[in-house]
Amino acid sequence: MITIALSKGRIFEETLPLLAAAGIVPSEAPESSRKLIIGTNRDDVRLIIVRATDVPTYVQYGAADLGVAGKDVLLEHGGAGVYQPLDLEIAKCSLMVAVQQGFDYLGAVQQGARLRVATKYTDCAREHFAGKGVHIDLIKLYGSMELAPLVGLADCIVDLVSTGGTLKANNLVAVEHVRDISSRLIVNQAALKLKHDQLQPIIDTFAATVAARHHS
C-alpha cells in the first residue's frame, strides 16, 4: 500500500493532474467529503488529507510514503527524515516582507537596527534578517498576519504573497522578496528504499510531467 499525504485546496487541485498522469484518480473530492482517508482507482494507493504544515510530519514518520508540501512548510519543518527530490512547480508564490503603506522600511533596516516582525515562518524570517545584519524580535502568528502592522503589533510581516490582493486590501505593500516558493514532492526515506519499485515509477512520472510542462 502506498499512502500519499496532501493538503486540501490549491495543492490538492494542482496535484490532481500529476496523479492522473501516474494513473491515480481519487475516488472522492476532499472538499465534498469529510473523509480523511480517500481511496483511489488503484487498490494499492490511498490519499490522506492533512493540514499543509503537517504533511512533512506524516511523511517523516512513515505514516505516508509520499507527500506534497510547500517549500515554505519544508523550510520551517527543517526537512529532517524526508527526501525532497522534485520541485513540482505548483502552488507557486513568494515569501515577502510587507509593511504598512508609508512605512520607511529602508530607513528601518539600517545595519544594527531592531525590527519587530510578525510571521508564521519564524525560521525563514530569522535567517533572512540575520543575512541582512538586522536584529529582529519575532512574533509568531498563525494567520491574518496582515493585521499585525495595522494595529501596531509589528513593524513588518513575512508572509506568502501570490496575487498581492490581501496586502492591497489591507493597505500593505511588499517591500522585499525573501524567496520563491513552490511545492515539492517529498518521500519518506525508508519507504524510498523499501518500496522503491512501487514509488520510483510515480516519482518518474511526476518528473516527466513537470518537465513536459516546462518545455511547452
Binding site: 510530519t57 517523516q60 514518520y61 512513515g62 526537512g79 529532517a80 527524515g81 524526508v82 527526501y83 525532497q84 527530490p85 522534485l86 520541485d87 515539492r184 518521500v187 519518506n188 526515506q189 525508508a190 528504499k193 523499501l194 522503491h196
Partner: protein, 382 residues
C-alpha cells in the same frame, strides 16, 4: 502532585520489554564474542572534548552538559558510544595491529531523533580498529545482519554508499564552509532543485558530478558503471567506486544483496568512507547503521583506520517477542525435601515461584509442584 511523571521522550522499560532487550543484548554480546570482539564499558560522563571525534555540531547539540564540580571543566553525558570506544583504542589500549571492540549501554540525547524515538536509546555495537581493508567492513556488515536476525529481523535491506565521493568532488570544486554544508544537506535530502542551484557556479563537470549523485541509486552493478561515466575522475572517486564494487562482491558471496545509494551521506559526521544502513519493513528509519571512520583517533594522538556498526535495542523491542514465561508454582514451607526439590528445579533452568498466598502476577504459571506419595513432583496446572 504529579511527581511520578517522567520527562518527555524518557521512559521506563517495563518487564516485557526489559526481558526482550536483555535477551537481545546477551545474544548479541555472545555473538560478538564468537567473532573475537572484546567488551568495553566506557563511562556515562566524561569531559566534552573527548566525547566528539572532531568538530561535530550535530552530536554537540545532542549532548547534555554539566560542570564537573571537582575541576570546573565541562562534562557531557554521552550521546554516542562510538567516539568513546575510539578513544579507548587510540589512547588507552594503544595496541598495534587489529583491535576488535564491542559495547552496550544507554546514551542520552538532548532531543529525540523523532517523535517515535526515545531520548535514551540503548546502543549496542561493534568496531574494528587498525584495519583499512574491505574485509573489515564485510565482517562488520555480516555481524550487523546476524545481530538483526537474532532480534527476529530476517528481511533486511542493505544500502551502501561512500562519503568519499562527496568529499572528492567537493574538494576538487574547492567548496568550503557554508557552500559545502549547503551542498551536503541538499544531497542528504536528495533535494535536487537546491543541489542544482548551489552547484550552478562550479566547473561544469564537477557540478554535473554532484548533481548526478542522487540519481545513482539502485541494486544493480549498472549504478557503478553509470557512476564511472557520470562522475569526473578526480582523486578519490575511482578509489571510492572500487571500494563499493569490492564490498558488494564480497557481500554477494555471503548471500547479502545490496542497493547502492551514492548520495547516502546521512551517517554521523565522523564517517569518512564506506557507509551502510539496514532498513526493514515497519521501521520509518534505518534499524542499524555504520561505516568507516578512518583517521579517527587523530584527536587522541593516534590515527587509526576504523569501521563499525551500531543499533538501538529499544527500537528493536517493537518486534514480536514471547510474552509468557512459563513457571512452576511451589508451596511455601520449611520442609527440607521441598526446599531441595525447588533448588534442583531452579538449577535445571526452570522458573519456580513460591506461592505466598497471593496469585503471582509476574510469571505465567502452567505447572505446580505437589507432594505425591512422599515425593515432590511437577504436575500440569489444572
Amino acid at each position: 502532585m504529579r511527581n511520578w511523571i517522567l520527562p518527555e521522550y524518557i521512559s521506563d522499560v517495563l518487564p516485557r520489554e526489559a526481558r526482550q532487550i536483555e535477551s537481545m543484548r546477551r545474544g548479541m554480546l555472545d555473538l560478538f564474542a564468537c567473532y573475537g570482539y572484546e567488551l568495553v564499558l566506557p563511562p556515562l560522563v566524561e569531559y566534552v572534548e573527548s566525547l566528539f571525534l572532531h568538530d561535530d555540531p550535530a552530536l554537540d547539540l545532542k549532548t547534555f552538559k554539566l560542570v564537573d564540580e571537582l575541576t570546573g571543566r565541562q562534562m557531557g553525558l554521552r550521546a554516542d558510544i562510538t567516539p568513546q570506544v575510539a578513544r579507548i583504542d587510540a589512547h588507552i589500549l594503544n595496541r598495534q595491529g587489529t583491535t576488535r571492540l564491542c559495547y552496550s549501554g544507554s546514551v542520552v540525547n538532548t532531543r529525540p531523533d523523532g517523535i517515535l524515538s526515545t531520548r535514551e536509546p540503548r546502543q549496542i555495537g561493534a568496531e574494528i580498529y587498525g584495519c583499512a581493508d574491505i574485509a573489515a567492513d564485510v565482517e562488520i556488515i555480516e555481524l550487523m545482519f546476524e545481530s538483526l536476525a537474532l532480534a527476529g529481523l530476517k528481511q533486511v535491506r542493505l544500502d551502501i554508499g561512500h562519503i568519499g565521493l562527496f568529499h572528492a568532488l567537493a574538494d576538487a570544486a574547492g567548496l568550503k564552509d557554508d557552500a559545502r554544508d549547503q551542498t551536503f544537506s541538499a544531497l542528504q535530502q536528495k533535494d535536487i532543485p537546491t543541489l542544482r542551484a548551489v552547484t550552478a557556479h562550479l566547473a561544469p563537470e564537477l557540478a554535473a558530478g554532484l548533481q548526478a549523485l542522487p540519481g545513482l541509486y539502485g541494486n544493480s552493478n549498472d549504478v557503478l558503471a553509470r557512476a564511472g561515466s557520470l562522475l569526473p575522475a578526480v582523486p578519490g572517486v575511482t578509489e571510492a567506486l572500487t571500494a563499493l564494487q569490492q564490498l558488494a562482491g564480497a557481500l554477494a558471496v555471503r548471500g547479502i544483496g545490496v542497493r547502492f545509494d551514492l548520495a547516502e551521506v546521512r551517517s554521523s559526521d565522523y564517517h569518512t568512507g564506506l557507509v551502510f544502513a539496514a532498513y526493514a519493513q515497519g521501521f520509518a528509519n534505518a534499524v542499524a547503521r555504520g561505516g568507516r571512520y578512518d583517521r579517527v583517533g587523530e584527536k587522541f594522538g593516534r590515527s587509526r583506520p576504523a569501521t563499525g556498526f551500531s543499533l538501538d535495542l529499544r527500537e528493536l523491542s517493537r518486534l514480536p517477542f514471547p510474552t509468557a514465561q512459563s513457571a512452576i508454582l511451589a508451596p511455601a514451607g520449611d520442609d527440607r525435601a521441598l526446599i531441595d526439590a525447588v533448588r534442583a528445579l531452579r538449577k535445571s533452568g526452570e522458573t519456580v515461584v513460591i506461592d505466598l498466598g497471593v496469585q503471582p502476577a509476574e510469571a505465567h504459571v502452567d505447572r505446580v509442584l505437589r507432594l505425591e506419595q512422599g515425593n515432590w513432583v511437577v504436575r500440569p496446572l489444572v
